[in-house]
Symmetry: none
Subunit: 424 residues, 2 copies
């Protein structure tokens, strides 16, 4: 299998000023075409570090993709280091890139300075792929086996994310035409409501019985639940595809409605898809989640098709006066109760006229809990024309994390309710 390494150059990443998103983007694209990324590396703007580390990567991997360090300012020294690494003895000017630089500067109403023109100048041992979105070209260095012990190729990309992304297709094509790439097959399953360890126990028998070629990964996320990923490296045929699909069918049987999607997805997307399909509308009443459920729902483009709105009732007076929760419920059962969650869900449906609604009331902390109502407790209510149901959950995290878990649990409870009603 073709192996690749992705290297990021720049002090700004090492001091934590910038989060590197290029590497993740590039590795996804490489994986999809069957190139296995075995390492990612971030190093500083230091000549020795660059030459030492890249030499090592070129000895270990077939393909080394370098991003960053190509800016016009003095602290960017990648190009000089690559010239040395490749044994280039001179620089050559790339006419196509120079033209692009001229156009970019004209568009911005700027004159071409020496510092700009130098961007089109590259070590003579490299091939150039013009960068249409920026001033620094992509450089391709091909090394024969004698140099680092294996035939290897180094691609140097600009660090600006949209330029790196823009150049990626040309690089993938170049890899395709120079290497025999293998295919990697992936399937993703989204689950919610079962913790990673409990899920592992539940799936132990199935996992044991998996064909050896299938690799399984558990990827937990507070807002998405546990994502399961099945992969076959070097998957060549439709046989491998159907082998994965067969395992997905078994997973479905074991996990039932704990699965909310058979592709990489979110709960809010799934809820939106279900509502759109059924032609139903939704509203939300939030206490402890403080607006996060509404915020998640409206993060989905097109959510205005099914989403009417919400009330965040932080104060008791808003629960009573806006949502119409009777003070009798609050004095008898308290604001953190099944009764209050149900009344809030019914109140927001009445107020907005939506088909479905979901409500939360609980204690995110810190402080304020009691034995009966501990911090981390949330009551969820879901109301629809067929009636109102409630459920409670208990989490033990910090405030922000509790709010996230409350919101995701509420979306999942709503999702299951809509699914069960649509199936009837």
């Amino acid at each position: 299998m073709i192996q690749a390494s992705i290297c990021t150059i720049g002090d700004e990443i090492l001091i934590g000023q910038i989060v590197d998103t290029n590497s993740s983007h590039i590795s996804r694209a490489l994986n999809d075409m069957g190139v296995r990324v075995t390492r990612m590396l971030s190093i500083g703007d230091d000549r020795n570090e660059i030459i030492g580390n890249l030499s090592r990567e070129l000895a270990l991997c077939d393909i080394v993709i370098v991003t960053g360090g190509l800016g016009p300012t003095k602290d960017d020294i990648t190009k000089a280091a690559l010239a040395e690494l490749s044994g280039s003895t001179a620089y050559k000017e790339d006419a196509r890139q120079l033209e692009i630089i001229g156009r970019i500067l004209r568009d911005r109403g700027l004159d071409m300075l020496d510092i700009n023109r130098q961007q089109a100048s590259v070590p003579d041992k490299c091939e150039v792929i013009p960068n249409r979105l920026g001033t620094a070209p992509v450089m391709v260095f091909r090394f024969e086996k004698e140099r680092f012990g294996r035939r290897s190729t180094l691609y140097s990309l600009p660090g600006v994310p949209f330029e790196a992304t823009g150049a990626l297709n040309d690089i993938l094509e170049d890899i395709h035409s120079h290497y025999l790439t293998e295919r990697i097959l992936h399937r993703t399953v989204m689950t919610y409501g079962i913790a990673e360890s409990a899920l592992a126990k539940k799936l132990a028998g199935w996992e044991e019985s998996l064909p050896e070629s299938i690799h399984l990964a558990y990827l937990p996320d507070p807002l998405k639940g546990v994502r399961l990923r099945l992969s076959i490296y070097g998957g060549t045929s439709t046989d491998d595809g159907s082998m994965l699909d067969e395992q997905l069918a078994r997973l479905r049987q074991i996990l039932g409605d704990s699965i909310y999607s058979m592709q990489d997805d979110t709960l809010q997307n799934t809820v939106g898809r279900l509502l759109k399909k059924a032609g139903k509308t939704l509203s939300v009443a939030e206490s402890c989640t403080g607006g996060m459920i509404s915020s998640l729902i409206t993060s989905v483009p097109g959510s205005s098709e099914y989403y009417l709105g919400s009330v965040t009732s932080y104060a008791v007076s808003v629960k009573e006066n806006v949502l119409g929760v009777e003070d009798d419920i609050i004095s008898r059962a308290g604001v953190v109760s099944s009764e209050c969650a149900a009344a809030m869900a019914e109140g927001i449906r009445r107020l907005t006229g939506s088909d479905y609604s979901v409500a939360t009331t609980g204690l995110a902390g810190p402080g304020g809990g009691s034995d009966k109502n501990p911090v981390g407790l949330v009551w969820i209510g879901v109301s629809s024309p067929t009636g109102t149901v409630t459920s409670s959950r208990l989490f033990k995290n910090d405030r922000i994390r509790n709010i996230e878990r409350f919101a995701a649990s509420a979306l999942d409870f709503l999702r299951k309710r809509i699914e069960s009603e649509l199936n009837h």
Copy 2:
């Protein structure tokens, strides 16, 4: 200077399914305490890769911080690899971590399984720092010079970001007590409403005149604005402190009310502090921000002291029926208008009885814009007993980023209004 390397373990990063944010967070903290991060590395869940790469890092750096690969499931093999690397011959159970695991499971209403108990079991050559936020403990391996050619320490942290962050302070303390770190003095100033490049231009003269020992960094964040950090490396004395404070005073003069805090802070914290101090209450009416403003405000512990609640009016009917926006305004001026933002702000104040309110209405995209009301336009209204004011902003980002900018701009507009009223 003490040198460190940060290593992330996990296939999910190499295949691009997850963006590594831990490394950036950890490196910022290490830099702040005067430890220089020279490399970051991501490798897969592969025994040989783990042992080979970590051995090399331990030979090159004083401190190696490893995150990830400690989950309870089979694909996580970091612990076994670290046992081998450290020459451990057995495992020992850490009683403190076992107790934490028990508590976490009890809180979730779960029984302790073997797979959970194993999380408390660590290679006998390591010291344990209990992880209070999760099940996998932090492991500390100390290597004498003979082993890798330099005295080095390896810290293994869980990969879940909030657990890694939570464990970080203990690790920094351990580094402090074992290494001679240099002191770095920092001051932070929070600004909002001026883009990074415009800010740099505005501050050019001041920046030129800064004493050479003062290092300035611009740290932009969509929800917080641009954070300015002034640092003196190796700052030893009170003189250095007063030199920094003098520069802060000059900054205050140049930037005026674009500064919302003289310490690392958020807009929602600042608004909360102002309201608490004045004994005033707040409510929110959101259209395009969809709940995010309310969610930000309630992310602050104790926000129920001043926050009453919100209405998210995604549908026009909710604007009219719940917030009482007159249909005359909507038909004449449209929902994205100064008039509608003002009416929403007044409507939510009427509904909740709050002293202050803030409202947003705009277009987050994608699609749906016009020449008059382009995608990225937001109208903000702020209402208080002294009257209602509105303001508009235009951003050019994707949906999520537009919503964030809208929400932060609204909080900042509210913040300035409260400040100006309190100063009268």
